[in-house]
């Protein structure tokens, strides 16, 4: 008789944070990263580069995008820095994901042809950065507004840190679902 498979899933707030709510979100983000790693497990550089159509995102672009957005949000949304310094953390620039692609566009030279290890390293760096950005946050910080400088189009973004943490989890989850669909077409 084969032994029954047992599956355990828990969100246990990570230690080392001043706020339970922040600890929960960091743990959730770690769980989403794990799902992303599962979704792309075993993909070759050619598969990571493959676009369903010219101008459409590849799995590699999506992975880079998740890492870049997470670092950018950590810097401007959690730490309240005036500008993102994505390249200092990831070694690739904030626009190197190539998104949004022009019609007919292809992955940028910075990420084209890269292997899975490269993209997983970007995710690991982003996770480390997020953890550091969250460690000192308190519950009070979560409801504090971040007011961004005016944009060239005349608009101005205002958000609280609770929204930023939600957006990090939701954004990574949203793009996690896309490589799953893309790999079914490989």
């Amino acid at each position: 008789m084969t032994a029954l498979r047992r599956i355990e899933s828990r969100i246990v707030p990570a230690e080392g944070f001043r706020s339970l709510e922040v600890a929960v979100k960091v743990t959730e983000l770690g769980a989403v990263h794990e799902l992303i790693r599962e979704a792309v497990d075993g993909l070759t550089p050619a598969q990571l580069d493959r676009q369903p159509a010219p101008g459409r995102n590849s799995a590699g672009m999506l992975l880079a995008h998740v890492a870049m957005v997470e670092v950018h949000l950590g810097q401007v949304g959690l730490l309240g820095e005036p500008d993102g310094r994505v390249e200092q953390v990831l070694g690739v620039g904030a626009d190197d994901d190539g998104m949004r692609l022009e019609p007919g566009g292809a992955p940028t030279p910075a990420i084209a042809g890269r292997d899975l290890e490269f993209f997983l390293d970007l995710l690991a760096r982003a996770a480390h950065h997020t953890r550091r950005a969250c460690e000192r946050l308190t519950d009070t910080d979560l409801a504090t507004d971040i007011v961004r400088p005016p944009r060239p189009d005349g608009s101005q973004r205002v958000f609280d840190r609770r929204y930023v943490l939600f957006h990090m989890v939701e954004h990574a989850s949203l793009h996690m679902g896309q490589p799953r669909t893309l790999r079914r077409s490989l």
């Binding site: 989403v32 799902l35 005349g154 958000f159 949203l174």
Partner: protein, 189 residues
Amino acid sequence: MKAVTNRIVLPRGRRATEVASFFAQLDELSGRMVEDVRGATPAELAWQSKRGHNTIGMLLLHIAIVEAFWTLVAEERFSPAALRRALGVDLDDDGMPLPPAGLPPAALRGRTLAWYTNVLRRARAFARRRTARFTRADLDRVITRTRRNGERVRQNIRWILYHVLEHQAGHYGQVLLLRHHYADRRRAR
């Protein structure tokens, strides 16, 4: 100057702040998803990019079913009949997972966006109502159950809340992808 404001504001009247925060986040996510599927016709909702692949309609129904399913699991009250009472559909009506080369469920053919958004609204109202009594201590509670395939599964309620949000966002991303593919296909004609 146009100000674009995004805040997660915790609704009052919940026993646990964390549960209140979860619903505020989930509502934000759903609001965005409903906005992004606006204008999808029954033909687009039923379009399959390839045999065996999910349609947008299947994904939307799946999101609603899963939200109600996990709410019942968290209450330790899941039964197929309880899910049907909550949503008016059955657990397998989304057709997922489709077998290789499978077609979408015939019962979804011709369904409108209004039908799907109504099921999504029912699922949210159900989940909101049934989790209102959860306390912070409940979130650490571990639910143990046996799946239809015999697997033993243990999950805490905090994971269930996280999973409902992550699950919806993941499939929302796939809905966006399918909308792009559908538009590409139409342009290529």
